[in-house]
């Protein structure tokens, strides 16, 4: 089960995700921002929170780690921070690397703080830091 001993654990980078014009347009439309010219055309950038598509996919590596005994369906997302070094752009091939920053166990639940680093062509584009609250069934203490 996850504990403070797992702080610092990292998982291998994800396979590169290619940011497409179609996905950027779809994401902007889902935020009600389809008419924003920044998200269209040859110099299109992605909406800033597009980064979550890549960062949350990287959470899977942690949920797949059998030692931690975590499941996504027992998890609540409690906070989110993004730090952008530049916007994500159409054509970027982005890898995501997750590191566990902090674990605070409380009875049958634990607050897990993690950072997903997003890199494109060897350049840091964004850090997406999340706090997750994970609960185990009663009687199983972290």
């Amino acid at each position: 089960m996850i504990s403070e001993t797992h702080v610092g654990r990292s998982y291998p980078p994800s396979a590169p995700y290619l940011v497409s014009a179609a996905k950027v347009a779809e994401f902007a439309a889902a935020l009600g921002d389809a008419d924003n010219p920044a998200y269209a055309g040859p110099d299109a950038v992605a909406p800033p929170t597009f980064a979550v598509l890549l960062s949350s996919a990287a959470w899977q590596a942690m949920f797949d780690d059998p030692e931690l005994e975590l499941s996504l369906s027992s998890t609540v997302h409690t906070d989110q921070r993004f730090t952008w070094h530049r916007p994500l752009r159409v054509g970027d091939a982005v890898t995501a690397t997750l590191t566990i920053d902090r674990v605070r166990a409380r009875g049958n639940s634990a607050f897990i703080s993690l950072t997903v680093a997003l890199d494109a062509d060897g350049e840091r584009v964004c850090e997406a830091a999340s706090t997750l609250l994970h609960s185990w069934p009663e009687g199983k203490a972290a």
């Binding site: 935020l31 920044a38 909406p47 800033p48 949350s56 409690t78 989110q80």
Partner: protein, 135 residues
């Protein structure tokens, strides 16, 4: 954008989330957690019904900032706590969330905007702040 003062109030926006909005965001974000489309799945977790994705609320709220500064590439950072869920009923009215922002700090050409998101007057995001490059 260099003459921005602390206390500047950004134009507010409203957004209506219906079940269709949630399905659209699920597909766009690939977040297919069933609590965002199935009342039964939501009830199994003790929720009164389907709720909006926190990230949908976070992403929509940032439109206050990107509409104001005109260029999403100016946004340097953004933080929110998800303090209250947004229930989305299965009807045409959905849930209407109001978003606003105020410049609360201006330093070295970077404006800090405190962002607010409310549903029926109750805050759904806590401590929400974005930093925007204004040079």
């Amino acid at each position: 954008m260099t003459d921005i003062e602390v206390g500047t109030v950004l134009p507010s926006i409203t957004a209506t989330f219906t079940r269709q909005t949630l399905v659209r965001y699920a597909g766009a974000s690939t977040d297919f957690n069933p609590i965002h489309y199935s009342d039964a799945a939501a009830a199994a977790l003790g929720l009164p019904g389907v709720i909006a994705h926190g990230m949908l609320t976070m992403g929509t709220a940032l439109r206050v900032v990107t509409d104001w500064c005109g260029d999403p590439a100016r946004v340097l950072s953004y933080y929110v706590r998800f303090v209250k869920s947004v229930p989305v009923p299965d009807d045409a009215d959905g849930a209407t969330v109001t978003f606003g922002g105020t410049v609360t700090k201006m330093e070295d050409g970077i404006a800090t905007v405190t962002v607010e998101a409310t549903l029926d007057g109750v805050k759904v995001l806590g401590g929400a702040k974005a930093e925007v490059r204004c040079d």
